[in-house]
Symmetry: C2
Subunit: 343 residues, 2 copies
C-alpha cells in the first residue's frame, strides 16, 4: 500500500503492529488494560503511518467513524443482544455506532432494511439470528462488506463467525467424564433444530472416543423447562441407570433439576447436571446453581465486528470461522467441598 | 392547513377520518382487520386530501417512509425489545424502519448516538430504557421530535408514554380480592427502585379502600427468584398468616412458588400467587402456571410510535401518557375447575 494513495486506517495500524483492530483502538485511545509494550508498539505503528493526525480528527463531531447496520433475521432476543454488545465493543463509543434492525423472519422486511441501511450510508453490515442452519446470502453484489454472526451464509465466499457448538458439547461431556461420570443421558431440543442435532452428535462422538455411549438415545423434545421435567419422567420410567445428564439448554436443565429433586435424586451427588447457554436467569436460580456451556456471544460479536472493520479497510476474511465455547463450572456438577481434577 | 402548502401525510388522513395513524395505514394498505366502515371513512379522507397519489408513490424503492432512531438508555433486553416491536408495528415494513441503538447507561455513548442518528437523517427518535424514574431530556432544541417510551422525561413539555404501574398493582390486588383473599403479603424488588415503591404504594392504597392492609410491611429485596425464596422464609418465620402473595416480578413469584411448595403450602389452594411482567419464561415454567400483570409493552411501543409519527407530521402530544396494564389469569390464583367471579 502506498502511503500517498489513501489515509491510513486503524486496520493498517493494527496490521503493522501485529495486533487486532480493537487492541489498536484501545492503545491509541488509552482505554482498557493493555501491556505497555503493546501500547508502545501500536503508537509507533501509528506514527510510521502518520495516523496520529487522523486519530485527532476522529472526534465526536467530525472525522472517520464506522457506522454498521446489524440485521437480525429472526426476532431480537437473548441471543442477538450479546452479539450486538460485543460488536459495539470492538471499537469504542464515538468510533463505531451500530444500528440494530429487526428482520423478524420476514424476507420483505429484511430486504427493506438492507436498502434503508445502504441509503443511510452504513459502512458495512452484520447479519445475525438465532438459527444455526446456513442461510442464503442477504444480497448479491452489495456495495459494502457483510459479515454473518452466530448464523452463517450458505455462500462459502462470505465471512461467517459461528459458535463452535460441537466443541461446546464435547467440553460438556469431557467435564462430566472428568468428575467421574460415565452413565450420561442427553435431553435436548427438537430434532429438526440444527443446534440440537449438532450437539447430540458431538456428545455421542466424544463418548465413543472413550469407548462409551449415551445410556439412552438422545431425548429430543423442546427447549423448555416443561420438557426437561417430562423427559426425566421418561428416563425414570425406562429404569435406565444414569449418573449425569447433559442438557441442550439451561431451561431444559432447570426442569430436569426440579424433576430430579421431586423424585428424590440429589444433584450433583446422584446425578451431575450440565446445561448449555449459560443464561444467568436459569443458572443462578437453579438449585443448586447450574454448570453450563457459554457460547461467548459477546466475544463472537466482537470478532465479527473486527472482521467487518478489516473488510471495510480492504482485508476481508472469507469463510466460516468457529468461535470457541467455554465451560462454566457451578455446583450442579461439583460439590462445593470437592476438589475436582479438571482436564 | 392549506392543501397547497404541503403534501398531505397519513397523519392528516388519520385526523380527518378520526382514527389513529396505524389504523389509517392499515385501511389504506388493506392489511389487518378493520371494520369496513372504518376502511371506507379513511379512504374517503385520503381522497379528499389527494393522498391516493402519495400512497402509490410510497413504494419499497422510493417515496416517503419514516426512519426512526430508538435509543435505549440502559442495556437492550426483555423490556426494550417489545417496545421496539410495537413501534415497528405502528406502521408496516416498507413504511417505517427503526434503528435501535444501545446507550448502556453511558451519557457519552448516548449523545454520540443522538448525533449519529441525526446525521443519518432520521425523522424522529424514541428514547426507551428500563428505569421508570423520570430522566433528563436527551437533548435541547433537537431538529426532530422525540418521544420517551417506558421511561419518561423530566420535562413536562416532552411526550412520554409510560406503563401505568400503579394501575397494574391495583389490578393485581383487585384480582386477589375477587378470588376471596384478604390476607395479602407483598414481596418485591429493591426499595431504591421506583417501580418497587410505586407498586407497593398502589397495592397498599387499593387494600385501604376496602378497609384492609398488607399482612406485613412490603418485603423489599431484589428482583430474583433467590430473593423470592428467601422472603418466604422470612414470612413463615414471622408466623404471619397469609392467603395470597402479590409479587413485584414474575421471577420473585417463581421463587415464592417453589419455596411455598417446599414448605408444604399449596398454590393456589392455601396461597394465591400473582406476579408482575407476564414473562413467558417464568409464567409457563411455574408450577402451577403463574397469574401475572402484563405491562403491554408492545402496545406501549405502538402508541409511542404513533405519537411520534403524529409529531413528525405537526401534531405533537406533549405530556405524560399512562398506558394501561392487563391482568392475565392462570392457575396460580384460580384452580382450573373453579369458576371465579371476575370483577
Amino acid at each position: 500500500m502506498g502511503k500517498l494513495e489513501r489515509h491510513a486506517t486503524i486496520a493498517d495500524v493494527a496490521a503493522l503492529a501485529g495486533v487486532s483492530v480493537g487492541t489498536a483502538s484501545k492503545a491509541l485511545n488509552g482505554r482498557g488494560s493493555l501491556r505497555e509494550e503493546t501500547r508502545m508498539r501500536v503508537r509507533e505503528a501509528a506514527r510510521q503511518l502518520s495516523f496520529e493526525a487522523n486519530a485527532g480528527a476522529r472526534s465526536l463531531h467530525s472525522g472517520r467513524t464506522y457506522t454498521v447496520g446489524m440485521i437480525t433475521t429472526d426476532t431480537i432476543g437473548r441471543f442477538s443482544i450479546p452479539v450486538l454488545m460485543g460488536a459495539e465493543d470492538a471499537l469504542g463509543a464515538g468510533e463505531m455506532s451500530v444500528f440494530l434492525c429487526d428482520g423478524r423472519d420476514d424476507p420483505i422486511r429484511e430486504q427493506y432494511y438492507v436498502k434503508t441501511l445502504l441509503s443511510r450510508r452504513v459502512d458495512g453490515m452484520i447479519v445475525t439470528g438465532r438459527r444455526t442452519e446456513a442461510r442464503a446470502p442477504i444480497g448479491a453484489n452489495l456495495p459494502v462488506p457483510v459479515v454473518y454472526a452466530f448464523i452463517s451464509s450458505a455462500d462459502p465466499g462470505d465471512c461467517s463467525v459461528v459458535p463452535d457448538e460441537a466443541g461446546g458439547a464435547r467440553k460438556a461431556v469431557e467435564h462430566l467424564l472428568a468428575v467421574g461420570r460415565t452413565r450420561i443421558a442427553h435431553i435436548t431440543g427438537p430434532e429438526h433444530h440444527n443446534s440440537a442435532r449438532v450437539r447430540a452428535a458431538a456428545a455421542t462422538e466424544r463418548l465413543a472416543e472413550d469407548g462409551l455411549s449415551l445410556v439412552a438415545p438422545p431425548l429430543f423434545g423442546g427447549w423448555s423447562e416443561v420438557w426437561g421435567r417430562q423427559a426425566v419422567g421418561i428416563l425414570l420410567a425406562g429404569r435406565t441407570e444414569f449418573d449425569a445428564v447433559f442438557c441442550g439448554s439451561d431451561q431444559i436443565a432447570r426442569g430436569v433439576c426440579d424433576a430430579l429433586r421431586a423424585a428424590g435424586r440429589r444433584v450433583p451427588q446422584d446425578v451431575a447436571l450440565i446445561g448449555f447457554d449459560n443464561w444467568d436467569v436459569m443458572t443462578e436460580a437453579c438449585q443448586p446453581p447450574l454448570t453450563s456451556i457459554d457460547l461467548d456471544l459477546e466475544g463472537l460479536g466482537r470478532s465479527a465486528a473486527q472482521m467487518l472493520l478489516a473488510a471495510i479497510n480492504g482485508s476481508p476474511s472469507p469463510g466460516r470461522h468457529a468461535h470457541p465455547c467455554r465451560l462454566v463450572v457451578r455446583e450442579s456438577t461439583v460439590r462445593e467441598s470437592t476438589t475436582v481434577p479438571l482436564p
